[in-house]
Amino acid sequence: MMCPRCESEQAYKIFEAPEDPKLWEVFRCPRCNFSWRSTEEESITDPKQYSPKFKLTEKQIQELAPKPPIPPLRNGKRG
């Protein structure tokens, strides 16, 4: 399954409607943490229609800033 946002092929189903699995399924992408429901608009579920402005590449992910910044370890602590 391709992630609509980062186009990783590693996305997979994590859940389906408790009332009836046919109603909807939820998927997640382990690379960019995007998740979506099968019944959302195609502009959300279809990689081809997902807004280019919100797409996320591996390179962009590598360059994201950490929030909050990770502080130095105190003396004697191991990372």
Partner: protein, 471 residues
């Protein structure tokens, strides 16, 4: 009567005509966001209870609990038509009763069901995407409890955006200026997990105080008691004994993983823009306790202002700097920090001497909330109601002299989600001193204000009576 759970408040809202039940089945997307947006854009918008969501037999969703000043007044147990300035001063009076410490209870509905093996947030909650380009399903109105990991003290209750990434995995925004970041920083320095408890679907005062910028040392539960008018009931969380609101529908427990960040966002934030993606901290969930079904899941619609988040963070955001400045400057009449969480803040005060307006504006910028959020600070005299923008605009138009009264402070700390910034977290502050010249400044010799006739307010009441009941 103060409300000790969201259910008690829903009863009150229904009695007062401020609750709409949606009985037909709704889709989690896009129906809930659309109807929640409609409710908050209406004048006097009601609370909306979704009784049946597609895919879950036993879950309900409630939106717009704080989403109008009528709902805000009901939360404070005031008549729903109570005006803004009156609500501000009532809240101010109750704030002064602080501290009203909480009482501990041994049992509460939020412990009826304990899920401590393989917890699944998707199974327990009817999660949904709040805005279309959000990076996932968010808990946008959750109260997060944490303590200093070294001392076990300085408990904090705060509201931080939380992305549900997997059954037992959350992303959490612990921005450096927030109290939880103090706890988290220590935990990361020591390379130990920070235990937290997340309370969902709380009575509205609990949520209000969790989203109020109190000082680090102030205890949120003791402030909730002060605002509510009776002690808040708390119960020890299942795993860690953190104090959680007994009236909550659901408690999630877990730990923030030290020295780890992962992709989070974007999320539609209070300025009405999506935040950027960032790599943020993550929580491993290991226990969920809750009421028996049907639980009511409360979430927050955020989007283009005005909407529920603006109502929720209006008077509390205004009151915090008011209380922090008032001891030094008793002349201050009121503060309005309602716009974009205080990006725009209006201070109304008597003037001690010429130039005093600038003193007040600069003091605002050293309060906890004032450091980052305000970037447009308007100072007006005490005869201007800062909650009445027509009056504020009048003051700017007739009292502001740009060559003397405009102050610009570049390269100052700013909000990290302000879309106008070139560098996230750095802003330019602007002070507009729209006060009359006070001695030793030079008053304009020919400036004479027209007074309104003294009996005008009583005649306004009289005319209103006669309009409602013509003789």
């Amino acid at each position: 009567m103060p409300f000790d759970s969201i259910r008690a408040f829903l009863e009150k809202a229904e009695t007062e005509g401020q609750l709409v039940r949606i009985k037909e089945e709704v889709r989690l997307e896009p129906d809930i966001r659309t109807i929640a947006c409609a409710a908050t854009k209406m004048p006097g918008g009601p609370v909306v209870l979704f009784e049946k969501v597609r895919g879950y037999r036993d879950k309900q969703v409630v939106m717009n609990v704080h989403g109008s000043f009528q709902n805000h007044a009901l939360m404070l147990d005031l008549p729903k038509e109570t005006g803004l300035k009156a609500q501000f001063h009532e809240l101010s009076k109750r704030w002064d009763r602080y501290p009203v410490p909480p009482v501990r209870v041994a049992d509460a509905p939020c412990k009826e069901v304990v899920v401590d093996r393989d917890p699944s947030l998707f199974r327990e909650l009817p999660l949904f995407r709040v805005n279309p380009m959000d990076g996932g399903f968010y808990l946008s109105k959750a109260c997060v409890v944490s303590r200093d990991p070294e001392t076990g003290e300085d408990q904090n209750v705060g509201m931080y955006r939380i992305q549900v990434k997997d059954h037992d995995r959350l992303g959490i925004q612990a921005a450096a200026q927030h109290d939880i970041a103090v706890h988290f920083r220590k935990a990361e320095e020591l390379n130990i997990p920070l235990r937290i408890a997340i309370a969902l679907s709380n009575d509205p005062v609990t949520t209000l105080v969790a989203s109020t910028p109190l000082t680090y040392a102030q205890d949120e539960y003791s402030m909730m008691g002060a605002i509510r008018g009776e002690p808040t009931k708390i119960i020890a969380s299942e795993r860690d004994g953190l104090d959680v609101p007994a009236g909550a529908e659901v408690i999630i427990e877990g730990e923030i993983i030290p020295r780890h960040r992962s992709v989070e966002g974007p999320f539609a934030e209070y300025p009405g823009y999506y935040s950027t993606c960032m790599i943020q901290a993550e929580v491993k969930v290991d226990c969920i306790t809750r009421r028996r079904d049907p639980i009511i899941f409360e979430n927050l619609y955020t989007g283009r202002p005005w909407n529920e988040i603006d109502y929720m963070m209006a008077l509390n955001t205004s009151l915090a700097p008011f209380k922090q400045m008032k001891p030094d400057f008793p002349e201050i009449e009121a503060i309005n920090a309602m716009y974009c969480h205080g990006y725009g803040t209006i201070i109304s005060s008597k003037m001690r001497f010429g130039g005093f307006g600038k003193t007040l504006a600069l003091r605002l910028l050293t309060t906890p909330h004032g450091i980052n959020y305000p970037k447009l600070i308007i100072v007006v005299d005490e005869d201007i109601d800062p909650f009445d923008l027509a009056q504020v605009m009048w003051a700017i138009n007739v009292r502001f002299r740009p060559e003397r009264d405009l102050v610009i402070i570049p390269n100052a700390p700013g909000s990290t989600v302000d879309p106008a910034h070139l560098v996230r977290g750095i802003t330019t502050k602007v002070i507009i001193d729209a006060t009359k010249p006070a001695f030793p400044d030079i008053p304009l010799a020919d400036a004479s204000i027209v007074d309104i006739p003294p009996d005008t307010p009583s005649w306004m009441e009289e005319l209103e009576k006669r309009r409602k009941n013509p003789a």
